[in-house]
Amino acid sequence: MSTTTENLAEALTDGSTDLLRFATAGSVDDGKSTLIGRLLFDSKTIFEDQLDSVESVSKDRGNDYTDLSLLTDGLRAEREQGITIDVAYRYFATPKRKFIIADTPGHTQYTRNMVTGASTADVALILVDARKGVIEQSRRHTFLATLLGVPHIVVCVNKMDLVDYSEEVFESIRRDFTEFASRLRVPDLTFIPISALEGDNVVNRSENTPWYEGSPLLSHLERLHVASDRNLVDVRFPVQYVIRPQSHDSRDYRGYAGTVASGVMKPGDKVVALPAGLETTIASIETADGPVEEAYPPMAVTVRLTDEIDISRGDMIARPNNTPASLQNIDAQICWMDESAPLTVGKKYAIKHTTRWARAMVKNINYRVDVNTLHRDEDVTEIKLNEIGRIQLRVTQPLFVDPYQQNPETGSFILVDESTNKTVAAGMVGGLPHRV
């Protein structure tokens, strides 16, 4: 058994490994599948029987090379049509981190899939073909990543082998991209010259790019500091479920179960329960493994309070001097995800925000954003599939919200069609994250 394997096993069990989620986006030819295949292959995550199967299918089809996209394209329709239909999740681990990849395809359903993949991502990987430079699609990827508040963007300038590993080409792409990105709110932007096919700067530092002083992609992802991305300031605890054991020995027990959305909670903290507005104190924070001294995101805990007050699912616990806005009129960006009907003014939907359901009516469509040019079109009456727009909603009961860019957990919601029960929109409270 190799040392790496022992390290991995030990790190996973003793809790020194943390979790990083990243989303990749791109079209058929930019080498995205090859890059993911390379990361999985070089981190020894692809199993031999999977590789055998991919090799034999590639050979059957008469391909010159092993088609690594076959590793992710699992559905029959995908194999038959040679396209990727949906977000695929892939996993690999090193002794430092476990990685969850949300691999999003690049064709027509693209925006819906990218929004889905980016919604939980710490990092967005954007591939740029070194021969083509920054194209419309690179801009679209970046805009969506910032719209979803992804805190780190890594631009992989791929196919460097096809431009003789030219520093000038890389620098020119970096300049173009940086100029475009300056209009968006990108907290952390990194550029890496790679060749996914040849393996340059993916896992190992390449000798072909002596002018590049940064890390290879994998070490960059392993070291990326994501702990400070979470909001640890504003205490928000949406009550998910009330635990009341129906047994004789714990008849008086009442605990509020939920996942900490943001902030750090401690026993003894003064808190307020919304919508009632009653103030009380945290008596204890419990888990099945015993009480804890503090709770922070994304811990799933049970909070007990010193006073008996009436709190139920959908209520929110915050600090008396730091509460979310209680709003029935919501100003939001939405991405429309339903192919059967567009969003129009006057329509009613079910809305889910944290653990609270309500009903919402569309009062106004302010504008639609062109995801390629960032142009705002105010002369619109509907938002269609894969379009992004700013709308005003009137909700049947108050939601306890923060602006999405400050707090994605309490700034996000979904709209659900009440007749089909389908999820039709992703919504983000507040304005666009970019300057125009």
Binding site: A77, R112, V115, Q240, Y253, A300, P408, S412
Partner: protein, 300 residues
């Protein structure tokens, strides 16, 4: 002062607990599908954590093929006893006797579990069923949602899945429709073993290596027992083996292994180069789309 960073196992644990609580809060009548394998045991362990100190507020259901290793049944009964939960058994043998399903020629009862499962779900009026499926297991699973919508025939339509954004799950269904929920979606085989070792979770001893009488068939090692007796012309040998998956006793193979402790299993899993199903499950080898087809029909 801590760093306020959860380890990856604790992050996965928190995510699963969140999912399980969300189902109980929003659905009318959930059930947990329990096979007795390691994944369903981890799922049950997480469900117990989600509602402590209260009991798990839903029953578990075992679709019993009648081809179980005794030690798996023993382990199941220990869990039921310990947690004080209700066990529903849906019997495949009973369904065969009633003529609902027919056994396949190779003796596999894998595929015919589906009608039995769907019948039991309908009979008991379950509108949400937890399954232990993981996305790293198989390509069709890699694209399935955490909350996976099923129509009133229990079918999965991969082209018509609900978008799943952030952790805002949508479990809304009409009468007769249901959802399958996969709280372990983001766990890998290695995570499962690391967690079992870290939490010292009670699992059937089949998973641990032990000297067993085995016979080699199609490159797979089968333990010689009442379900897989020695055929004419075959010879058996004693080898140290363990099971990576626990399916039907007549079709599940063991792998050569010296891992007699949970820690050793974690190390072995970190080093292994063949998928668990590829190594041990005769029933999954049928076609490249075998799992997708079974899932469309309403399989776990």
């Amino acid at each position: 002062m801590t760093s306020h960073v959860l380890s990856q196992l604790r992050s996965l644990e928190a995510e699963s607990i969140h999912i399980i609580r969300e189902v109980v809060a929003e659905m009318q009548r959930p059930v947990l599908l329990f096979s007795g394998g390691k994944d369903s045991i981890v799922m049950l362990h997480l469900a117990a954590k989600a509602f402590a100190p209260a009991r798990i507020p839903f029953p578990i259901m075992h679709v019993d093929t009648g081809l179980n290793f005794q030690t798996v049944l023993d382990c199941r009964d220990r869990w039921v006893e310990r947690l004080g939960i209700q066990l529903v058994v849906a019997s495949v043998q009973d369904a065969i006797d009633r003529g609902l399903v027919k056994e396949e020629p190779n003796g596999s009862r894998n595929r015919i579990q589906t009608p039995v499962l769907l019948e039991a779900v309908e009979k008991h009026g379950f509108d949400a069923a937890f399954g232990g499926g993981r996305r790293d297991e198989e390509k069709a699973r890699a694209k399935e949602r955490v909350f996976s919508f099923r129509d009133d025939f229990g079918q999965w339509d991969p082209k018509n899945q609900r978008p799943e954004i952030w952790s805002l799950y949508n479990g809304r269904v009409h009468q007769g429709e249901s959802i399958r929920v996969f709280p372990l979606s983001n766990w890998t085989e290695l995570d499962i073993w690391s967690y079992i070792a870290a939490e010292n979770i009670d699992i059937p001893d089949l998973y641990l290596a032990q000297e067993r009488e085995v016979v080699e068939r199609d490159g797979m090692l089968f333990a010689v027992n009442e379900f897989t007796p020695l055929k004419e012309g075959e010879t058996s040998e004693r080898r140290s083996v363990r099971y990576r998956t626990v399916g039907d006793a007549n079709l599940t193979a063991a792998v050569a292994s010296d891992a007699t402790t949970l820690t050793a299993i974690v190390e072995e899993t970190a080093a292994v180069r063949i998928t668990e199903r590829g190594a041990t499950r005769g029933d999954d080898k049928v076609s490249e789309a075998a799992m997708e087809d079974r899932k469309r029909e309403g399989y776990f």
